[in-house]
Amino acid sequence: MPDPSSGHAFGLAHQFDDYEQQREASYLGVWVFLVTEILFFGGLFTAYIVYRSQFPFAFAMGSHELDITLGSINTAVLIGSSLTMAMAVWATQTGRRRSIVAYILATILLGGVFLGIKVVEYTAKFEHHLFPGPNFHWQGSDPAHVEMFFNLYFAMTGLHALHMVIGIGILLVIAVLAWRGSFSPQNHNLVEGIGLYWHFVDIVWIFLFPLLYLLGRNIQS
């Protein structure tokens, strides 16, 4: 049960002996979860590596269609949001209630910008008949494998975007809790946990960006 007077928002769960055990269990739990996420994305990365090594030209052509400017902006935005997330964790550790909320809101905002840019990009792809399926149309050579590039582009960035949406949802809840003063230097497992998750989502993008966007840099139009 919450015990605000002692600064412990969530109390000690009955299965734990003390707060330290509870905190260590939470962290280990989050890390194990992130490992499962690495394997989850890993399947897509494997498919990407296999097909790219077999059809490098088609993949380069597909990549060339992506907007590097928007992709770079998104990369900067996401790295920035990791910074604000880290600041939110620091604010929790140092008991700055208002700052926690501000930094979390900043993270949400930057995440929203990222998703907004992705919407712009996806819309452009739809319009240029580059979304896989019956409406896909490619004028140049090897359309089947250019479509494969886009299969993987949408699958990988789509899965990533889904993780961001979920992350933003959790952050909204955390922002509310932070406003209510639920966190303190003694009890901030939740913020650290979502912080780890957010950094993970950022790192996935750091891999996606070069593999998907930078591949086609050197191709002449």
Partner: protein, 541 residues
């Protein structure tokens, strides 16, 4: 050792502390969740078993005369899907692991009890998708879902079934995550890693596989669903994809998955053999490390399912030699269990009958596995009944016998009741005999060349098929009888003391059934695992 239990009927325990559906459906108690899983798993097992009954009846005659070919294909697919995803993979961990791991480590519950309850709901949601698909005609792709048949050719409910597996997979990941954190962080004072019961080591190794392997099949399933839904070609060669890539991604999980199914069973066997030989396990560290070795090596051998699939000869050679390596830790465990019997004090109680049966059957299953890993042999027997016999020896002769043995061993602890011993021995005998009669002829059928997933076959295969179907009848009976007496025992069974077997372990020091928080106060562990010399008066064997 045995406490007198005249008042246990009135004593509060985890079963009677609360009544009503809500107290069960919203419970956080790992023991109640284990019982919930027992009910779900038994349900899915019965349906999967029913599929098997139809299969064996059809196969008693060479012609495909019981059901249409299409129906038969759906029957064997649902049999595999239900048994693997909804029974064997959750299996021992969800029921026995959930119940016992906190107790065995001296904890009040798992690290994340709400996550545990959520996993049961997620599991049932996955099962529901599959049942829905089944009621609407099922799937006919085989549980392996090979493309492009599953993505571009069949018009059955692939997506619903695949999503069911996807969702159920999350339950598996949640359980694995819970066990890893629990075992790392919640052991009682004095309980070092090398004092843990081997049951815990086995579940730890299993949890590693659950956590690392399941996400890969999850994403593969999503890609299959996307391919079907959107008409894109990730695995479809007609659209530029590679069907063999599907096989690699699928088996990367599904091979380690078989170790998810057997490792916990091996953990049960370690407990049964030590308890019923009243002796410390021979080579504790070797058995413990073997569990982890199996988990790690198990990730490196998936290509042995693909020796004839057109993967390169060199890949085949690599996977074959790695598969030989993964067999060694299993051999080590088997020898250690056998050596534990030497100079033990061996009791022929029902759980021990299952354990001893496991030893013989697992050896046959494991050795035929190494035969399959031998490239020159696999060319001939791949996709024949030899493979079917091999995996049933491990999964039924191994995993299910261990599961039953464990249920019989810990039933008094879980329910506070004993089952009728006479009937339990009869059904153990029926299971052992029926199992061998069902599956041994299938080795011969496989070498003769009878392919898998055939509902009609050449006449000269009939005698062996009839023997197999006869065995299946006996095996089915062997499974039905315990269901009856276990349910009967809940009401009429003799009340059990805290330690009816005279076994060593933290679970035997608390009442049967335990209280909600397991221990009055956190135990402090000072003795080694299976320290039978420390107890009471010993007349040595």
């Amino acid at each position: 050792m045995s406490t007198t239990v005249t008042t246990s009927a009135k004593r509060l325990n985890y079963l009677n502390v609360d009544h009503g559906m809500k107290s069960w459906l919203l419970t956080k108690d790992h023991k109640r969740i284990a019982i919930l899983y027992l009910i779900s798993l038994s349900f899915f097992f019965l349906i999967g078993g029913l599929m098997a009954v139809f299969i064996r009846i059809e196969l008693a005659t060479p012609a495909g005369d019981l059901v249409e070919p299409d129906t038969y294909n759906r029957l064997f697919t649902m049999h595999g899907v239900l048994m693997i995803f909804l029974f064997l993979i959750p299996g021992v961990p969800a029921v026995l692991g959930n119940f016992l791991i906190p107790i065995m480590i001296g904890a009040k519950d798992l690290a994340f009890p709400k996550l545990n309850l959520a996993s049961w709901y997620v599991f049932n949601a996955g099962g529901l998708f599959m049942i829905w698909a089944m009621l609407h005609g099922g799937v006919d792709t085989g549980w392996t879902f090979y493309t492009p048949y599953s993505t571009a050719f069949t018009d059955t409910h692939v997506i619903a079934t695949a999503l069911g597996a996807f969702i159920a997979g999350f339950a598996s990941i949640m359980t694995g995550l819970n066990f890893i954190v629990t075992i790392h962080r919640m052991r009682a004072p004095g309980l070092t890693w090398f004092r843990l019961p081997l049951f815990v080591w086995a579940h730890y190794a299993t949890a590693l596989i659950q956590v690392l392997g399941t996400p890969v099949v999850a994403i593969t399933i999503l890609l299959v669903a996307a391919e079907r839904l959107l008409g894109i070609g990730i695995f479809d060669p007609a659209l530029g994809g590679d069907p063999v890539l599907f096989q690699h991604l699928f088996w990367f999980y599904s091979h380690p998955a078989v170790y998810i199914m057997i490792l916990p069973a091996m953990g049960v066997i370690s407990e049964l053999i030590t308890a019923f030989a009243r002796k410390r396990i021979f080579g504790y560290k070797f058995v413990a490390f073997s569990s982890v070795a199996i988990a790690v090596l198990g990730f490196l051998v998936w290509g042995h399912h693909m020796f004839v699939s057109s993967q390169s000869v060199y890949a085949g050679i690599l996977f074959s030699v790695l598969s030989m390596l993964v067999a060694v830790p299993s051999a080590v465990k088997t020898f250690n269990w056998t050596a534990t019997l030497y100079q033990g004090s061996i009791s022929w109680q029902t759980p021990m009958i299952y354990a001893l049966g496991f030893l013989g059957l697992f050896v046959i299953g494991g050795l035929t596995g190494t035969m399959l890993a031998t490239l020159g042999i696999d060319i001939h027997v791949h996709d024949t009944y030899f493979v079917v016999a091999h995996f049933h020896y491990i999964m039924v002769g191994g995993a299910i016998m261990a599961y039953l043995g464990g249920l019989h061993f810990w039933w008094p602890k879980m329910t506070g009741r004993m089952y009728p011993v006479f009937w339990s021995k009869i059904s153990a005998g029926l299971v052992f005999f029926g199992f061998n009669l069902t599956f041994f002829p299938q080795f011969i059928l496989g070498y003769l060349g009878m392919p898998r997933r055939y509902h009609a076959y050449p006449e000269e295969f009939q005698v062996l098929n009839v023997l197999s179907s006869a065995g299946a009848t006996i095996l089915g009976l062997g499974y039905l009888i315990p269901i009856i007496y276990f349910i009967w025992s809940m009401r009429y069974g003799e009340r059990a003391p805290a330690n009816p077997w005279g076994a060593y372990g933290l679970e035997w020091e608390i009442p049967s059934p335990p209280t909600t928080y397991n221990f009055e106060e956190t135990p402090v562990v000072t003795r080694e695992a299976y320290d039978y010399t420390g107890i009471e008066e010993k007349s040595v064997a």
